[in-house]
Symmetry: C2
Amino acid sequence: MRGTLKQVAERAGVSTSAVSRAFTQGASVSDKTRRKVETAASELDYSPNVLAGSLTTGRTKMIGLVSNNFHNPVFLEVFDLFTRGLQARGLRPLLVNLTDMVDPGALLRLLRQYSVDGVIIASSTVPPALPLVFTTAGIPVVHSFGRYSTAHGVHVVGIDNVECGRIAARTLALRGYRRVAFLGGPATASTSQDRWLGFQQELSGHPGITVSHSFANAYSYDAGHAEMARLLRDSPAEAYFCGDDVLSIGALSAVRQAGLSVPDDIGILGLNDMEMARWALINLTTIRQPIPEIIAASLELIVAQIDEPARSTEARIFPCDLVERGTLRPLPVRISGT
Amino acid sequence: MRGTLKQVAERAGVSTSAVSRAFTQGASVSDKTRRKVETAASELDYSPNVLAGSLTTGRTKMIGLVSNNFHNPVFLEVFDLFTRGLQARGLRPLLVNLTDMVDPGALLRLLRQYSVDGVIIASSTVPPALPLVFTTAGIPVVHSFGRYSTAHGVHVVGIDNVECGRIAARTLALRGYRRVAFLGGPATASTSQDRWLGFQQELSGHPGITVSHSFANAYSYDAGHAEMARLLRDSPAEAYFCGDDVLSIGALSAVRQAGLSVPDDIGILGLNDMEMARWALINLTTIRQPIPEIIAASLELIVAQIDEPARSTEARIFPCDLVERGTLRPLPVRISGT
DNA sequence: CCATTCCTTGCAACCGGTTGCGAGAAAGCG
DNA sequence: CGCTTTCTCGCAACCGGTTGCAAGGAATGG
């Protein structure tokens, strides 16, 4: 067993308060005492128990990091950036896999029992009630990759999915596609709904273009593959804006397996720009979501709210942009006028 | 602020001990008291503070989950299985991203400060000294995806990498390749060394086959791509056993980009069988590593060691098997004799 | 009905720290 | 050198629980 504060105090010949202060940034201790404490501490291999201290300070320096996206490769990058960002700030991520958990109350109870200082919810497919539960309980919370329009009493960081739908529509229209379609993720996901809305909105200004849509039942390779295979049996569109990159890759595979060419026969446009999108075998044209910025903003907001609980909530929405690769036909060459 | 045990006791008209016992499995409480406590608790929205309790019980129910593989897509599955498995046992993963952390001592101090009940190290590229530090400190530890031969005082769960090298060699030999090569991960990784060793061993029994080898500088797409591109400039081998699936995909891309065909011109054999390996665009022949079993065993061992600290350490090694897909030429047809 | 055993409960100490308060020591100043 | 101001440090209470112990009460047996 390792040494305790009391043992260090005894060995250094000082009071426990002195030891505690020696380990507290900015506390009033003389150099002499600090040195005595430090040698005693290192002899006993002592390091303070954060959890015990948290009883009085009210701070555990732990942040609940909750997500349900353990099958989408982008989220590995998300976890990497979150954990490193938290660690760099001296915070520790308590990871919660939401997959098996349904009840927001159970989640709240869980994170309360561990008195986390704050909660980051990293998911675009979570009901808005979930983050709200924490606000109600007075626990700082940030919803990353969330929908900003539902932001009431909850910090939201993410992208404008309606705008992404519009960007996709413009992208396809500019490349001369006349029959386009939206192949969304689950119909219930707010991301699907918003992107489809923007897609429609933008194309309503293009009467020459016909639009259709359908939804895959998950943001996954298999779902994308299955849905595209189904679509190919009828008369498919010329280009598809897919719910995300994984879905796109499933769709892409289905098209190629049907003996058709991408982009010559059918165009595909993804969303996310995950690392694999640039792999030569995939080479997916996609709309980039600025993940590092989203995560940096999320961290900034959670830390700010911990320091200042009364702070009013805000939404931070980042712009997305097209990354041109090989799954859409190129822009038509245009003779530039004056 | 939510209610505390003391408040519940007051409201229920009982002592704090009674409340504590009402929330402790198997403690001696009458039904009447339990009911009084339960109503008071729910009125005050009380749930016990695990961390405060941990001071006396010595159990936080937190497990340090440490890894440095935040760029290899298999590890998303690994995190998924670990977190769900831990949660199912009432344990909470405190995630540590080792990427920025060098010093084992710092890691130990960190996890000690949070008095985790145990540590799972999920990485094949970690120095053996790292897990050992925890054993020395008396903290239960399991090294998942580790090298069993270095197992002294540390539970190790993983695969037999030497044997994997042999399987790879046999696989290539059986398919009639005469000039084969090992394209390993970092030369310093024990996995690279062991696989290369087994590969050599097995092929030393095949005098007709020539063997070469080289190492990529990471288990990554880019490293695999770069190393294969370099190899293609000289006279490449007929088939490559690559360090893992991601590396394989990089190599595969480089071969295709050079205008060569896989498997007609060059064969590629991976290791891991991550989810993407079966994607039609990739369709990688690979050696499957039984990840769910490895994780189940890791969880079992860490829990067992927490319950019984004096338990002697063991290594659990799982067999791997070939998953035949499209990046190696098929087995030659053979006329079956008697 | 009484004696004995078992169950339930409260008291109080303790887990490993932090912190407000006041006293004593050190430093600053004329 | 004496007085005021600033530091430093120990005392003791407290954070939110758990648990050994002993006493009181209920249940059991005769």
